[in-house]
Amino acid sequence: MTWFHAARARLRLLAPRAAEARIDDEIRFHIEMETQRIAREQQVGQDEARRRALATFGGVQQHRETLRDGRGTAWLSGLSLDLKLGFRMLVKYPGLTLIGGLAMAFGVWFGAVTFQMFGAITSTKLPLPDGDRIVRIQNWDLKTSKDEDRVLYDYQLWRATRSITDLGAYRDASVNLVGADGAAQPETAAEITASAFRIAPERPLLGRVLTESDEAAGAAPVVLLGYEVWTRRFDRDPQIVGRMVKLGDSFATVVGVMPEGFAFPMAHNMWLPLHMNSAGAEPRRGIAIKVFGRLANGMSLENAQAEFASIGKRLAVEHPNTHAQLQPYVTPYAQLGVNNTDKLAMMGLSYFFVVALMVVVCSTVALLLFARAASRESELLVRSALGASRRRIVTQLFAEALVLAGVAAVVGLASAQFSLTRLGRPYIEMNYGMLPFWVDFDLSPTSIVSALALAVIGAVVAGVMPARKITRGLGTRLRAGTAGGGGVSFGGVWTAVIVTQVALTVALPAVAMLVRGETKRVEAYDAGFATKEYLGATLGIEDALEETATPEARAALEGRVTASLDALRQRLEAEPGVSGVTFADALPAEDHNYLRAEVVSLPGAAPRWVAAARVHPSYFDVLQAPAVSGRLFTTADLSADARAVIVDRAFVDLVMSGRNPIGHRVRLGSGAASDSNGAQLPWYEIVGVVKELGMASAAMPQRVPGLYLPVAPGSQGANKLIVHVRGDPLSLAPSIRELAAAVDGALRVEQVMRLDQVTTPLLWLFNLWLRIIIGLTAVALLLSLSGIYAVLAYVVARRTREIGVRVALGASSRRVITSIFRRPLTQVSLGVIAGSVLIFVASIGVGNTTQFRGSGVGGVLTPGELVLLGGYAILMLGVCMLACVIPTMRALRVQPTEALRAE
């Protein structure tokens, strides 16, 4: 029962008030009993007896303290007192609270966002029952280092494995869905096997999910709607189940609606049965599918990997032509391309970076706290004299930093949650498409705990570091009685902190200038024609082409698509306000394909990479770009034996060195190894020259030689529609969709935009960067200013007496200022120099990157930029010196008599 008695005793001791009362009562009883005994035995009066009793007992207060310490909770009550004091300090020094708190909150925010993003990207947890047992099975092609998704043949064998149950597959499909308003719009659908609804067993909101019978050949076509599509397209029609809806050029019956948030397998809104016809599949032929399943009971991921590896080996022997290079592998379903080793390395790196940033930020907060603690040196000396140990005083200063870090952590976490869910997620989804359903941007408990740990690290750096420094030799100072006599001084560490910050403050705006310059360049991007008058759209025909296996079927489908697009062109041209319609494989200012061009009729000319566009013969007419020399394409150039190409001015300047290119012949290759025998490659004849029409993407700063090949609409990837409109091009968008649906139900119209909007996502990214860098600069500037201010204010306070004596002895204001300014001036100058060197080195580095090589950005600075940089450095010097104004004024106001009396 020892443990029981001991535990009871400890518990009682933990209750602070009860324990205090008990100690007092016990001591009082003891003294009274002893008083009575002494009065009785020694025949003295009560007062004398009590005095003797107290003397025998020894210092009551001291024993009381010993008992309190013995309770083992002294540190607890001490800490709560320290925390209370810490809160008072927050209110008492609002400037420090604001600046230090903001800086720490920034560190916590950055940490929380990093932890959460990292967790979201690398998490393998699926919010599904048995989520950790759901796996993805893929075939890895060793030769191309890519996944081989044409696995219909393999799928048959995989179904027979023991380690996986509920094997299923899906593929993405973008289909035109006609909604309640009669308009056809493309939706992201998954053609999927019914087993998916056993893997993700969610009850439908209405109707039923897909079943195996829906997959049978000849089964009535059905569709399962997602909550979002049901809401947006059918206005939550409760009678939707059983209704026929138009999907592409056919009809399907709605069998059910899934609840909100259901998006299995990735981020899908609509589900169709997957008709695989896998029975007669040949190895590495047929449609591309993604395969998933669940680990069977008692089977581990390793068991499954072993079983699939053995299947892979067998297939490699049986089908050496197709499977020698293929390796099936099994991974957790939610794991997206990041393996565990990379994950650990990435995690280590990002955590290191986050902690490093926090330490840097908190070193400045430490500087501020140090200055504050130094100005409270007398208080600390008195506490020390009253018996507070060094550890006790360090704890107090740590508690003050902890309170600050705690407040900062709350602010940092709240803003992290806001920026992740309100800014980060919409931004990513807008630019990179919907995220998989398991990626969660809400701060996870792990991220919150990590961020709080970061705040504690910050508190240790900001609190303990200065506390240890200021309490060093406190006893000596106490004995010497030199409170306020200059025992504490700022060391090299603080100088380094200030220099680093000033350097960052100087260097960061240069990065902002670079980004701003890029933004301006992209904004000013000239595609060579009036992009505002044109509408661009992507026509969905590529998926349809992939399905067909035989070349004959492919040709037939291509013929159909060309016919449909031609029909669409004619219908569009008949629309009021439309003055031209054409097609290309990429919109101007977008990334183009690159081909290796060799001008064979120019002896000794080395092959060069050129941007190549496949365009409809009407392209240049519609873009109102007449031939500069030679001729434009005609429909005759579309024939199989025609060999005409058109080049732009950049081609003439960069490839032909200004020579007239008309009549010259070029060989075009993709740059692959098969091109090595150049003579085998087809050659083309340059028939015309046009001006530069946005062949270089807006992100590229250099001129790029451009080359045009003629193409029929829809063939060879020419699925971008360009329409020249008088008036507002965007007003035409609805009619394009209607006309496309009328011409061919399978024709999807996606990404409709004005051609000047091609650069919008890029500009957005640049703006985001710009804002982040401006934020960082502001934090660095704020920290260095407050750091300089704190140090100087402290120095002036310490040297009040010295300044007074100097003034008394007749020193001029100038001398006083010089003596005060020397140190901060040195620090700021060092910082500005370091920052300038950083900019110089970085600009040379930037100039040598592939992105900017030869573009004139970066490299050795021009005189103009040097002047700008010098001016900025001087400005920074001035701004930093502003932080010195108040302390200096204070120093100059020191009256000699006052200063001398201070001693």
Partner: protein, 111 residues
Amino acid sequence: MPSRPQTDALHGSLDLLILKTLSIAPMHGWGISQHVRQISKGVLEVNQGSLYPALQRLEKEGLVTSDWDTTDNNRLARYYRLTTTGRRALGVELESWRRFAAGLQAVLDVP
């Protein structure tokens, strides 16, 4: 040489004295100090102030336990009593003390 209370000799043996005293009957702190003084006829004087921290320590170790009770003259006092573990510990302490005393005696007895 005038006799004086041998408080110094008590260093290290305070726990033993407390445990021994409590093995006779549950007692409050003042009672323990009086008992030691009376039995030793004033030779041993427990440092009263350090008695309570020692009691607190023994209680935390589970060797004694305490509760409020009334004294003979109807006053409320905190009574300490020995636990089973405390009784066992007393045996061990006593044995070790006796060995120590015998050793000390042997050294002092050498003429």
